[in-house]
């Protein structure tokens, strides 16, 4: 409750910042090249932090406004829709935007010591610049109300992401292959998406999402619309790493620089997921037969397959970051499952899980990155004794892991709880079973790490155990902010839950953007 009121009080600033909706995209977009120009790595980093903080501040303003019960429609250049591009903020994307900008800030704070070690010095400024552009792209995707503009920002963020992933090559040459794979599949996805948008334009003659939605409300049996729908779902599904289109993801996460792993894991797929929701529920209409069919026969089965198969895969992974990546695909299954229920409760639970998953996966990747930094850990088996050698990191990792498992007193519990309730209300017993199985599998793969960290002896040189590693404080702080958030949002999930609820009600209540 207190958090909500705090945010609401900030919203008083909105009078000072009437253009917040535009600024939140424009500032990072423009700041990116400036970062590159700054050239000095430390300066670029500071600048980036500043920009990310500004973006975060702006997104909080937007969030405050939305929490106040308003929706924001911002016309770019004062060109009214449908001719101009409009930015549109409601409870759905306010949450996503805050999440993205907040995680960007935390990732940057966390990232400095990492980047210092992982990226060649002369590329560091460029790295931060690209990162800011990527951030702008992701926020843009989330905020825009124009279908084609979505494609543009999607590509902005994607291309910058390919670059960022490829920068992991300093550590591991496989990053290049991973990035290339990502690029190929990402492009296919983008292409499918843009084909879909084109088809929609063919059918409706407009690119404004609200207009499309209005026009589609009548003749939704059109074959063109159906084709557009399929292309968009598959295209965004690819970006979301929907099973079985997820194959690009594990390597991309595993070989990218630590900071990018953290950022991608907690934002990129989330934004794509948001876009999917936006198209499924506020461009197309949830009641349409082809959409219901897609939910029942494609999305839901794929979701639970992901939840189980990828959890098993995660259990097999020796590589920690690939383990977490597979777990992400499985967790995306939870969100898709909630979405495909097509009910307010389901969608809300999916959105809440999206938010919570960002918190926990961000923390997990941070901790793993620290472990890599401190002990050179790549494999689960190399984490042995971390409870002794890196106690803080190990504790953070454990708590975030518990959250991933859905243990009470962590945020992960709350979203799984709502998901199960939604499934039960929908009468989907099999989905409950899948959630249960997947959660138990999560115990396995998280348990493997916890066991290695706490139950095995630390590696030693002869008789001398490896000494305790001190993690950089700058990296520990964001880790613990996320860990604390994981606990905080168990006790007080009112903000994300309220937003998710109102978003779900809005989307399914037929409220047009």
């Amino acid at each position: 409750m207190s958090l909500m009121s705090a945010i609401s009080s900030i919203s008083g600033l909105r009078d000072l910042l009437p253009h917040a909706a535009a600024l939140v995209v424009v500032i990072p977009l423009l700041a990116g090249p400036i970062a590159v120009i700054l050239a000095k790595a430390r300066l670029a980093w500071l600048w980036s932090v500043l920009v990310a903080a500004a973006a975060f501040g702006l997104s909080l303003v937007l969030l405050g406004t939305v929490l106040g019960g308003e929706t924001i429609t911002y016309e770019m250049g004062n060109w009214p829709a449908p001719l101009g591009i409009i930015y549109y903020v409601d409870s759905l994307n306010a949450l996503v935007i805050s999440l993205v900008s907040g995680m960007a800030l935390l990732a940057l704070l966390y990232g400095w010591p990492m980047v210092e070690r992982e990226i060649e010095p002369k590329k560091q400024a460029m790295f931060f610049g690209t990162f800011l552009i990527c951030l702008a792209g992701l926020i843009g995707v989330a905020i825009t109300g124009d279908a084609f503009n979505v494609f543009v920002f999607l590509e902005v963020s994607s291309i910058s992401t390919y670059v960022l992933v490829a920068m992991g090559a300093g550590q591991n040459r496989q990053a290049l292959t991973a990035s290339f794979n990502y690029l190929i599949l990402g492009t296919i996805g983008a292409t499918f998406f843009v084909i879909g948008v084109g088809l929609l334009y063919m059918a409706t003659g407009t690119l404004n999402m609200a207009d499309i939605s209005r026009l589609l409300a009548d003749g939704d049996n059109d074959r063109v619309v159906r084709a557009a729908f399929s292309f968009i779902v598959i295209g965004l599904g690819l970006k979301t790493a929907m099973f079985p289109l997820h194959t690009w993801l594990p390597n991309a996460y595993a070989f990218s620089p630590s900071m990018i792993g953290v950022f991608l894991a907690s934002t990129a797929t989330k934004v794509a997921f948001y876009t999917l929701i936006r198209f499924l529920f506020s461009v197309f209409h949830a009641g349409a037969p082809f959409e219901t069919a897609m939910f029942d026969y494609v999305l839901a089965p794929m979701a639970i397959t992901a939840m189980i198969v990828c959890s098993v895969q995660a259990s097999f992974q020796p590589d920690v970051r690939r383990l977490l990546a597979y777990s992400s695909v499985a967790q995306l299954g939870y969100m898709l499952l909630g979405l495909s229920m097509g009910t307010v409760a389901g969608l809300s639970a999916g959105l809440l899980h999206m938010f919570n998953h960002a918190l926990m996966k961000g923390a997990l990747f941070m901790a793993v990155g620290l472990a890599t930094l401190g002990l050179g850990v790549i494999q689960v088996s190399e984490m042995r004794g971390m409870g002794k050698t890196m106690p803080l990191t190990a504790a953070g990792l454990s708590i975030a892991g518990l959250s991933l498992m859905g243990v009470p007193l962590t945020a992960g519990f709350v979203s799984k709880y709502y998901l199960v309730i939604a499934a039960l209300e929908r009468g989907w017993w099999w989905a409950v079973a899948a959630i249960v199985v997947s959660s138990v599998l999560a115990i396995f793969y998280i348990g493997r790490m916890i066991e290695a960290m706490y139950l095995q002896k630390p590696p030693s040189h002869g008789d001398d155990p490896v000494i305790v590693v001190r993690s950089p404080i700058l990296a520990i702080v964001p880790l613990y902010i996320l860990v604390a958030a994981n606990i905080w949002f168990f006790f007080d999930p009112s903000v994300p839950k309220g937003l998710a609820d109102s978003a779900a009600t809005l989307l399914l209540g037929g409220g047009a953007p």
Binding site: V420, V436, F491
Partner: protein, 493 residues
């Protein structure tokens, strides 16, 4: 500030929390640390006594800790059942702490600070379980109990301890998240709340089939109650030091499991619904099988603690059996078994630990003739055995009697065979331990061993002797205890 029941309810968690902090901070000074630990235990007992009296006088103190969402809150409410569990757990915890200090010092164990700190957390969790006002809160503390006892189970830190700990965690967490949690959530969906309600919060909300499914989920989800086939964690947890075993078996963990079992039958399903449920019948049969199989396997174990572990599996299935039969008398018997078994079993475990402290002997077959050196220990063991067997005038006789009284319905009565068989098997595997110690001549080779005459530390002898005396006293206290609990069971048929 005056003590009120509501404050007492909060203190249930706060006192162990303070204890935890104190233990950690004073870790470098063992005497201060152990003193703080004991002070915390004593304060907790005093607090619980106050609560027990208040609840006995009809108060039902309640506190809401956190309101997560409508229907999702951390809520404490103390009723007689919980007060009883809190009393047992805190009282025995205090004794077990004394014993643990004696044991750990006597054996010069490592990491004592971590050990006692974990204990403090675990007792906090047990108190939370006792005072839970809804199923969600209970579940939360149930999980904390698992996690906080995990370092205790693996305390020895060797490969065996790790393996035991792994199984402990996998089974307890797996079942609770995989079965119990869905059941709790389903309860929330069907009943709209998980707040405990006299007469059963699910009654009237679900049909017999869904009710049966939920019951099965609950019963297997509460793996702490160690019903076959979710019992395997218990023998594996025996790798822990003896104070931990005593804590697991008699003070908190298994007890929390069976307590939860009784609690769900009374407050979640309601007696009538369980009685009408077809699943309950089969679960009762499974409990009966567990009783017999546990005893049979206990007979084959030479390691004393393993034997006691299997004995616990058998003995605590009495509670599950009573809960599944679900007549008011059977439930009364089941509840009483929680109390009475606690005293008997903690005596046995403490004795096992005292023997180990004296001469590091763990096998029953090597204890022949030790009675001369440790008459008090084996005497206490003998009394404890008699109580577990269920012979008057010892505490264990009452629950068996009342359970039997609750089983006279023709469809249940043949399950009595399990109880009868169990008593006989108990004699076979429990009594020879002390009898051989007193009567059997030691192996000549063993007799050469000077350790055979070693004396255990005083602090490990006193507590079991006290609890053994308590089993005699409790036999005569059964009336007041039952009167105290009676309001709980009057809600039923």
């Amino acid at each position: 500030m005056n003590w009120t029941p509501e404050l007492g309810l909060i203190l249930l968690l706060v006192l162990p929390g303070l204890g935890f902090a104190g233990i950690v901070l004073a870790g470098k000074y063992p005497n201060i640390r152990d003193g703080l630990n004991l002070a915390m235990g004593a304060a907790l007992v005093a607090n619980v006594v106050g609560l027990v009296n208040a609840v006995g006088a009809g108060a039902r103190p309640g506190v809401q800790l956190a309101d997560i969402a409508p229907g999702l809150s951390l809520q404490f409410t103390l009723e007689p059942l919980g007060a009883m569990f809190a009393a047992i757990a805190s009282g025995l915890f205090f004794l077990n702490t004394i014993y643990g200090i004696g044991y750990m010092r006597g054996n010069k164990a490592k990491n004592q600070t971590r050990f006692f700190a974990s204990f403090a957390l675990a007792i906090a969790a047990a108190m939370g379980v006792a005072a839970s006002g809804n199923m969600l809160t209970l579940f939360v503390f149930y999980e904390i109990l698992t996690l906080s006892t995990f370092p205790l189970v693996t305390h020895n830190g060797d490969e065996k301890a790790r393996r035991g700990g792994r199984i402990y965690l996998i089974i307890l967490m797996g079942t609770s998240i995989g079965l119990l949690l869905p059941a709790v959530i389903a309860t929330q969906v069907y009943a709209g709340t998980t707040d405990f309600m006299v007469g059963g919060l699910l009654s009237g909300h679900v049909g017999p089939i869904v009710g049966s499914i939920l019951l099965v989920l609950y019963v297997f989800g509460i793996a702490k109650a160690a019903l076959i086939p979710v019992h395997m964690w218990l023998p594996n947890a025996m790798v822990a030091p003896t104070p931990v075993s005593a804590f697991l078996h008699a003070v908190a963990v298994v007890k929390a499991g069976v307590f939860t079992m009784v609690k769900i039958v009374i407050y979640v399903f309601g007696i009538d619904m369980v009685r009408a449920s077809p699943a309950a019948h089969w679960l009762a049969i499974l409990a009966a099988i567990t009783i017999v199989v546990g005893s049979v396997i206990a007979m084959t174990k030479d390691n004393l603690k393993a034997r006691l572990a299997w004995s616990t599996i058998g003995q605590l299935s009495y509670v599950t059996l009573g809960a599944m039969i679900a007549t008011p008398l059977a439930l009364m018997g089941a509840t009483l078994q929680i109390v009475m078994h606690a005293f008997g079993k903690i005596t046995l475990f403490m004795c096992a630990g005292a023997i180990y402290s004296a001469n590091h002997v763990t096998d029953v077959s090597k204890m022949n003739g030790m009675g001369k050196a440790m008459p008090w220990v084996f005497g206490a063991f003998f009394i404890g055995s008699l109580s577990i067997i269920g012979l008057p005038p010892f505490a264990g006789a009452w629950p068996k009697l009342i359970l039997l009284m609750g089983m006279t319905d023709p469809s249940d009565r043949w399950l009595m065979v399990a109880l009868i068989l169990s008593s006989l098997l108990n004699i076979v595997y429990l009594l020879p331990v002390s009898v051989n110690a007193f009567l059997k001549k030691p192996d000549p080779v063993e007799a050469e061993n000077a350790h055979n005459n070693a004396k255990p530390p005083l602090l490990t002898v006193l507590p079991p002797v006290l609890t053994a005396g308590a089993t005699l006293g409790l036999f005569f206290m059964a009336g007041p205890i039952m009167d105290y609990l009676r309001p709980v069971f009057e809600g039923g048929s």
